[in-house]
Symmetry: C2
Subunit: 177 residues, 2 copies
């Protein structure tokens, strides 16, 4: 079996994580798509907002981790589509390092006006408003190494995917921890 | 922490598993909803039809199992909405028995005409046609103990939920294996 890959497609809300993930999946042979939002919403009664509850975010990442490990064990690459901070990406990396896998951490990046414009194009119940901009600041405050940022505004999806697949700089290594 | 519960809501396609699961969730305090179909469709590249591939069905159940264990560990009841045969229900039971949990196995049941009528009410791309009826026969051939069947045609959802919550006969025990 070839070495498997995990692609963590992160970035603030509205930056194009889902679109990019779906384009990326078209290039992978055996693959799985884990939407962090979908995993998060499996919790029904007693669910807290993940950004307000450490227990909730910990449950979400435990679930993403076990799914990722299973999909890898069955020979799949895995695309994770979720707002993921560096500490979370490194935690995941550390917990699958035994599986002979490369973990690519990509933080899509665009300007605040574009984020707000895209937010307004969503259905009302999915709009995040100011929380989009707060997320940008949280990424800036997270100690994120600039090399993991991938500016995607005015770029064709094809070009973005090309960078993710061919640019080694997104690969996490043990020195990133 | 109270003893937790896992409810496996099974039955042929079109019998009302999703509707019943959603009603049941309204009665539970801390809870999670695992749709087997949603878990199954996380696999993108290389996915086989689960009923034609042992490897695919094994991947799906490994994923359902790890999610179930996580949700239980965080104090939630779990509702699993999936076509589940007795051997699969018992496999799940055996693999979570260490967690102090009751597993309730409910196979919703109705007549073939009703199944076909409900199938036609779905969007075209979700219609299963004859596969609905094949599933009924597969359940009949699966060695399913009649006590796990819950006829739900002409019953109000409220009554169905009442039976699931209050009727001990759906609880799996080690002698069911």
């Amino acid at each position: 079996m070839d070495r498997r890959n995990v692609y963590i497609i992160s970035g603030p809300a509205g930056v194009g994580k889902s679109t990019t993930s779906k384009e990326l999946l078209k290039k992978l042979k055996d693959s799985a798509y884990i939407s962090g939002d979908a995993v998060s919403h499996m919790h029904i009664g007693g669910r807290q907002k993940p950004w307000e509850s450490k227990k909730e975010i910990s449950l979400i990442w435990d679930n993403i981790l076990c799914l990722t490990r299973n999909f890898l064990s069955y020979g799949n690459d895995v695309v994770i589509d979720y707002v993921t901070f560096p500490s979370e990406a490194n935690w995941l990396f550390k917990n699958i390092i035994d599986l002979d896998v490369s973990v690519h951490y990509v933080v899509l990046w665009t300007d605040k006006e574009t984020l707000l414009k895209r937010d307004l194009m969503r259905k009302k119940e999915y709009q995040m408003g100011d929380r989009c901009l707060i997320l940008v600041d949280e990424f800036l405050d997270s100690g994120l190494d600039e090399k993991f940022r991938l500016p995607n505004c005015d770029k064709e999806p094809e070009a973005v995917i090309g960078e993710i697949l061919n640019n080694g700089k997104f690969r996490l290594t043990e020195s990133d921890e």
